[in-house]
Symmetry: C2
Subunit: 620 residues, 2 copies
């Protein structure tokens, strides 16, 4: 299992400087269109906020593969204010445990403005998005972390943004001096026993948290981290758990836009949060994070231009979190058995016969993309719909993510297969990967899950098991003579003796490099005992060869080696130099023709296999 | 662009009857676990509902590829009741237009129980999920369709379920007789001018709509239709628009579970709706639809066991609509230019030289899965990051869906490319497909979007354009001699004359089948003029050949033809029978050896191309 890397930038000045990705063009268009909107006013209930430049306007959009689009004043700092609420709520869920948090903070919308002092029937805050709930979150963290509470919060906000964040001390001081309504809320919470520490200590954390400085770019990355199940798409860090993220987005959905939450979700359909500093963030799960900064606010306290950017993004592209589609059937990119597509190991007659008798004993499913519940369910039904194999190989090298649901269902599928004595083999996943840890944590009790990083090795191994199971033996010590070489089939015994006299027997140790690509090709090799493998310079394994097969035979056509050959175990080979062979061909033109015909035959067989595999991958 | 079909069931009794997909096992486990729960009571506010069998318990789950899981009493009919509300709301949005509906029905949660008589500040219903809103929907449809209103609703519900639905006349009569609270609500709506028709006419529609009979299986398919952007996954019919679906799911999210909507979405995270008939449906976008039937209700009027099934499904698999992941980078399954991976057309020296000078003039992006905003954005950035090509081929044959956002961004990308004189070529999409209509509707003003169904044909066409553009000519009428045949390279002039005397010149018309796979192979062909193509029996195109190339040459190795050869234009070829050729080889063993060597060389080149392509598709 690997992550694909973007193609490197080859010639940026040629194309990138002139054309731009359409999303960049769209955001630039929004910036130009809404620039002239001068509605609304800069917040002044905290005197220091009133000093913001009303002309500032920055937009940023972060994608989940870590690209960040930016337009205008996207690097101008402003205070986070209420946009801190979802992140601190998520942090509290992770640090304190969901029970401790959910016991004192509700999850129903209040229908009131953000600064409502009303509590619910239990004398608890309605939810974590109104001030009462946010002050409670800060209070819970103050209680747990004492004097370190604010640093804990600032560090976490910094991990959401992917950089260290500063505090605007002037705004903090201004807010502390003038925040009487929040002081009233805090005293009410303390009288209801929701806050245990002193009101001053709790509000010191809350006011400082609201004065953390971010930019529209930070805002986009923070929103994208929520959209990406808690993983910052730029730094790759898992900042909070998927549980905390989904619950935070739930509360943003039902209560993030206060008294017009229902309409926001109906019309725009992207969980969002605004702050009186002029920021607004929107987080579309599995898609993107949007950040905007423009300090002129409407009557609800939301940035006028920021709201317009969110609306335009949703309307223009028809983005809405409930307008989703997916197709589980694209999960399987190839589905075959060893009858249709055997390993690249050249096998001898007895092995070939056994494998031919059990063409569907080994089933291979090559999977691609995200393994979600739908995708794994589809895979499980495809397996259940056909004859039961003895081995199922799941190739995961194109799998880029697994959801919790997908992982759980996959583990259940492995248990189901184990119950029916089907061996599960995984390829394309490294034991050091977190996904491997997750799989084994759920399937540790199954003894017959095997793994091989290379798919071809996995197929070879499973084929070997079938050979053993049905009475075959694979004897790597056996020695063969030139008479068994397919490349020399059809030449006379005398001619073969003449060739044998020209051959030198070579001995190799395990891992010896026998041939290297790029070297001049001076000789042909006939494997006498042991096993070697042939790989391309980029590491792709072309074939595994056992005694009785030739290698380096392309020297007959090409003066330079095009592949590496390495001994898998100790091995011996007959080497015949090309010049000796040329002289032999000159003396025996019919034998020469026969060898060339045999070579063409071998190549035609390899081409047939390669085309079969291409057709599998191009399946319509 | 095509839809993949599931692998056919080969041997069901072997495996399917014993093992089961894990999701089936999970649902069976739920059924067994919750069976023993006898909490709650059958609804009795309508006398006829009280007759339901409290023991009944059925569960069904429909996936978006159209598979339906069922457990227990999943085919027992019951009345739909309030579960009709979301479907009739979606229908009203589509039939009457969103403006007409949204003008009189709000979208904010009321915080009240379902049968609340309270209206909002505008004297309108709070939303379409409370009775007042649902009666208003029925009223709007009554006003528009008069006496046909109910049939319109019943037909639509049937299309959601994928079958014709009946009405329980006894329940309807019972509800009509006893529905005084709904009568009160309807009169209040009429006095507020929200309902125009007579209360009796409107309630006749509403009560009948509530008495429509469905099963848990229907319920699952109806929910899956909402999860699938309005397309019934079993019948394939687009029942309502994606707009209506996303807005209906929005209202289900904010208000579907009445006064505990916030907690439901926080804890379970799947838009749901229940009915007092004992049904409950849950719709997880892009994943699944769940239906349950068990008539014992809790104090909120929700099926006790149904709620437990929803909770178990969400908790067990960590399913939550806001707990999503995706990876845009899996969209591109192969990305190459003609330098790395040319078409299968064998070209002559002048054409080869021109193409070799412009290896990155044609860029090919093979895409897979759903084209969403994220995916197309990623593609656009990959294009912008490299040197600008002259042609970009987008192969869509593995694309299974396009979201509205993806389509729009794709159209914008095509416009961006057109502005820079880059020609867009589409392959793998048929002009008869709805996606083609959508693309051309958005890009009709771009003159240089071309399409070819076969990717290889698209690459060939783009290569031809490069050849023309840089002074080359492709002369299909030109006649070549045997001397130009690579298969005969290196034999003497005398030998060639001898061969020429054995050859018969054959003439073919466009579309003539020259060779057919499975036939005995009696002769070799050397194309003298024109163009032919070689295809496998399953339609995969292996090569396009022009004058100067051979075909049927595998007769030298294999007594049976393995591919079809068809004339693309009128063509002529030299045919030499295998028996004549064998006699020639017997007389000239060195020439025979040389031909075999040439054949091995041709096969080695084809193998190199096939392996390069395999490596592209296996890209790590």
């Amino acid at each position: 299992m690997t992550t694909r890397h973007p193609r490197p930038i080859q010639n940026p000045q040629n194309w990138a400087s002139a054309a731009m990705p359409p999303l960049q063009r769209f955001l630039s268009g929004c910036h130009a269109d809404f620039w002239s909107d001068h509605d609304g006013a800069v917040a002044n209930y905290i005197p220091e906020l009133g000093k913001a430049d009303p002309a500032h306007f920055g937009i940023s959009l972060a994608t989940l593969d870590g690209h960040v689009y930016e337009v205008g004043d996207s690097r101008v700092p402003f205070t986070i204010q209420s946009m801190s609420k979802p992140f601190v709520f998520a942090l509290a869920l992770d640090i304190l445990g969901s029970d401790a948090v959910e016991r004192v903070i509700g999850v129903e919308p209040s229908g009131d403005p953000f600064n409502s002092i009303r509590l619910n029937a239990d004398n608890h805050p309605f939810n974590a998005m109104v001030n009462a709930g946010a002050i409670t979150c800060s209070g819970l963290l103050r209680q747990a972390r004492q004097a370190d509470a604010f640093d804990t919060i600032r560090d976490a906000l910094g991990r959401f943004a992917g950089r260290k964040l500063d505090v605007d001390d002037a705004v903090f001081a201004s807010e502390s001096t003038t925040g009487d309504r929040n002081r009233a809320i805090a005293y009410l919470l303390r009288t209801s026993d929701v806050i245990k520490d002193s009101v001053d200590d709790v509000l010191a954390v809350y006011f400082r948290q609201c004065a953390v400085l971010i930019t529209a770019r930070d805002c986009a990355i923070m929103a994208a981290t929520l959209a990406n199940r808690g993983v910052n798409p730029v730094t790759g860090e898992q900042v909070v758990t998927p549980y905390a993220v989904s619950r935070t987005l739930s509360v943003m959905t039902s209560s993030g836009m206060y008294d017009f939450a229902g309409e926001w979700i109906y019309r725009v359909g992207i969980p969002a949060k605004s702050g009186v500093g002029g920021g607004i963030l929107a987080s579309l799960p599995a898609r993107l994070g949007l950040g905007s900064y423009s300090p002129r606010l409407d009557g609800h306290g939301n940035s006028v231009r920021g709201i317009k950017v969110c609306e335009a993004l949703s309307a223009h592209y028809g983005l809405h979190m409930l307008n989703r589609s997916d197709d589980a059937r694209t999960t399987i990119i190839a589905d075959y058995d060893i009858g249709a597509n055997p390993s690249r190991r050249s096998r001898r007659a007895q092995e070939r016969d056994i494998l031919a008798a059990y063409p569907d004993a080994v089933r291979v499913l090559e999977l691609v993309g995200t393994l979600s519940l739908s995708n794994v369910d589809y895979v499980s039904r495809q397996l259940a719909a056909s004859a039961r194999p003895q081995f199922v190989i799941f190739d995961l090298h194109r799998v880029t993510a697994m959801t919790q649901a997908g992982l759980r269902l996959l583990a259940e599928l492995f248990h189901e297969l184990a119950d029916f004595h089907v061996t599960v083999v995984l390829s394309g996943i490294r034991r050091t990967s977190p996904e491997w840890q997750e799989i084994t944590a759920r399937t540790g009790d199954i003894r017959n899950v095997r793994d091989f990083y290379l798919l071809d090795t996995a197929i070879e191994w499973a084929e070997d098991q079938i050979v053993y199971r049905y009475g075959g033996a694979i004897d790597f010590l056996e020695t063969t003579e030139l008479a068994e070489q397919p490349l020399l089939a059809g030449i006379s015994e005398e001619e073969r003796h003449e060739l044998a006299a020209l051959a030198i027997i070579r001995h190799y140790q395990q891992s010896d490099r026998i041939l290297s690509s790029g070297e001049p090709a001076h000789s042909l090799f006939f494997l006498r005992s042991g096993v070697v493998h042939v790989t391309l310079p980029d590491g792709i394994r072309l074939a595994t060869l056992t005694a009785g097969q030739c290698f380096g035979e392309m020297a007959l056509l090409d003066p330079v080696r095009s592949a590496d050959v390495t001994a898998d175990f100790s091995a011996t080979a007959f080497e015949i130099t090309l010049s000796d062979f040329e002289r032999f061909r000159a003396r025996h033109p019919k034998a020469g023709e026969r060898v060339m015909r045999n070579l063409a035959q071998l190549l035609a067989e390899r081409l047939t296999i390669a085309n079969a595999r291409l057709n599998l991958l191009a399946a319509d």
